[in-house]
């Protein structure tokens, strides 16, 4: 066995390329295959998928369950809203830069506090800190707009070359969809690289056995903090992309139940696989959208899905699809 063979067998580059290409082409063609409303829902789904990718770096790869990721999503969104309100910025690229900077500062600080603990203590601490942010956004209404929130108008895109505000509704949706898609592809590629890097291997080692990880020279706390930071940055980016699409940010995205949604769709897709959180986020978004429009008891529907998920599909949708594919292969 040579190292070249191992690289090929481990990553299965051809299979990977074959699997990804049709999905990428489909995503690129969606605006031409469906109406702007469906494109809009998918754009929301892709944004949540970026948040889930970040979240799963902690849960699936580092073994830390955060119940406070609403904080990083929210700080990205609120940073954009503050830039609009106080600095009168309208450029999406500046939103991304400013939002990421704010997310990095907050996540780095929260990470220093949280990664000293693991298991339930870590989860509760992340939840508590996100609730602190929520209460600040809720109470300091003269700064944050309180429950009314802050409005974010449609920004200019691609260094001011595209003024999306002047486009029709359909044009606005499609243009912004491609903007989101660009960041989605970038996030998926970057996260794939991270989890297959030596750093990603070290995180999985910490997840499996932190004592042994320390005894092979991995600085466990430092690596957890780095994972926390990267995770927060991805989730913050999702918040930055989400707020112009939604047009408004309120304290609802900082409250712990929003963190619960991120946990929900990551578990729905399957946190033991790379694509699970992506699939879960997109499916959850459709599920929630159609459940809300179909019944006033939509939360009951989502609750029932969660119960079925935990009892019948602990490996999520990806696990279910894998089992189905295996059964089909055996049958044929």
């Amino acid at each position: 066995m040579t190292s070249a063979n191992i690289a090929f067998r481990s990553l299965k580059p051809l299979r990977l390329l074959l699997a990804v290409s049709p999905i990428a082409v489909l995503l690129l063609c969606i605006p031409y295959l469906t109406n702007p409303y469906q494109t809009l829902i998918l754009a929301y789904g892709l944004i949540m998928a970026i948040a889930a990718l970040g979240f799963n770096l902690l849960l699936g790869y580092t073994g830390l369950l955060s119940f406070g990721h609403s904080a990083y999503f929210g700080v990205g969104a609120y940073a954009v809203a503050f830039m609009v309100k106080y600095l009168h910025v309208r450029s999406m690229e500046l939103f991304v830069l400013g939002g990421l900077l704010a997310t990095i500062v907050l996540t780095a600080l929260f990470g220093v506090i949280c990664v000293r603990y693991t298991r339930i203590f870590f989860s509760i601490l992340t939840l508590a800190l996100s609730q602190v942010l929520w209460s600040l956004a809720y109470k300091f209404f003269w700064v944050t707009g309180g429950t009314d929130g802050l409005r974010v108008p449609t920004p200019s895109l691609v260094a001011g070359m595209v003024d999306a505000a002047k486009l029709s509704y359909g044009g606005k949706v499609v243009t912004y969809y491609y903007y989101v898609l660009f960041f989605f592809f970038l996030s998926v590629g970057l996260m794939w690289l991270i989890v297959h890097s030596p750093f990603g291997t070290a995180l999985q080692a910490i997840r499996d056995n932190e004592t042994r990880a320390a005894f092979v020279g991995v600085r466990v706390q430092r690596f957890r903090w780095l994972a926390f930071l990267v995770s927060g940055i991805f989730t913050g980016l999702a918040g930055i992309l989400w707020v112009p699409l939604n047009g408004l940010t309120t304290p609802d995205i900082l409250v712990w139940t929003f963190s619960g949604r991120i946990v929900f769709f990551t578990v729905l897709g399957g946190f033991r696989s790379f694509v699970g959180p992506i699939l879960g986020a997109v499916v959850f978004n459709y599920l929630e959208t159609y459940a809300i429009s179909a019944t006033v008891y939509w939360q009951f529907v989502l609750g029932a899905v969660l119960v079925v998920l935990v009892l019948v599909m602990p490996t999520g949708l990806v696990g279910l699809l894998s089992r189905l594919a295996y059964a089909v292969r055996r049958a044929t």
Binding site: I6, L190, L193, S197, D208, T211, R212, V216, G217, V218
Partner: protein
């Protein structure tokens, strides 16, 4: 100069003197066995030297450098590695990744976020060579949890060995291994250790293993060192025979 020495090392757990004023010496290049009944303080002594526990008092020197206050990371950098009594592996990672991670860590590459791990030919080749030395080359792609107990023990040692330590502690390398496989496991471990010029300290309960593979044996009893000598000297030691084996030596 000794490779490692402890001076008046002490560790208590409540009223129990787990390690009681121990002066323990390891010479360069030897395979030393640390024996004693359960609760004698062997694993606690190794935990103190490897940094898992902090001593209540006393000093630890590695090549005359005081490492008593060093953390685990710095002790590893100084050249101390260990395996564990209960197999301690990264269960979801393949055998190759278990070893490769150790090499990445040794080479300071674990903070690389955007380089594919398997594309590092140098590390992959070295990891394969380590697996080959431990007879695990055909199992490189199996997650650690899927390996047989004997293979897991070997991988456990291989992971520590890949750090290229000066001093390697092996805590019961044959526990849980079938009697039939013990010889093969120990032959492999001692062969790799001796050919790599690594000093090894083995904690072991199986006296056949101890007397077959050791250059020197240190016997612990109730937290203190009871005897220290070659296998022949230990075999002839009346105090050891009485304490450890529960029988008087033959005249």
């Amino acid at each position: 100069m000794s490779l490692l020495r402890t001076e008046q090392l002490q560790k208590r757990f409540g009223e129990t003197h787990a390690v009681d004023n121990v002066n323990f010496v390891v010479e360069q290049g030897e395979v030393l066995s640390l024996i004693g009944s359960n609760g004698a303080g062997k694993t606690t002594l190794v935990n103190l030297i490897s940094g898992l526990l902090s001593p209540d008092s006393g000093k630890i020197f590695l090549q005359d450098q005081d490492i008593t206050s060093m953390g685990i990371y710095d002790r590893i950098k100084a050249g101390i590695a260990r395996s564990f009594q209960l197999v301690n592996l990264f269960d979801q990672l393949t055998a190759l990744d278990n070893v490769a991670l150790t090499i990445f860590s040794r080479q300071g590459k674990t903070q690389r976020l955007t380089a594919l791990a398997v594309n590092d030919r140098e590390v992959t080749d070295e990891a394969l060579a380590v697996l080959d030395a431990f007879g695990l080359q055909d199992r490189w792609n199996i997650p650690a949890i899927g390996l047989a107990q004997g293979e897991r023990k070997l991988l456990d040692v291989a992971v520590a060995y890949a750090l290229r330590p000066h001093l390697l502690f092996l805590d019961e390398p044959t526990s849980g291994v079938s009697t039939r496989d013990k010889g093969r496991v120990m032959d492999t471990i001692t062969s790799v250790v001796r050919s790599g010029h690594i000093t090894a300290v083995i904690i072991e309960h199986d006296m056949d293993v101890v007397f077959t593979y050791s250059d020197r044996i240190v016997v612990m009893h109730e937290g203190a060192i009871l005897a220290d000598g070659t296998p022949a000297e230990i075999r002839a030691n009346a105090a050891v025979a009485t304490t450890l084996l529960g029988t008087p030596t033959a005249e």
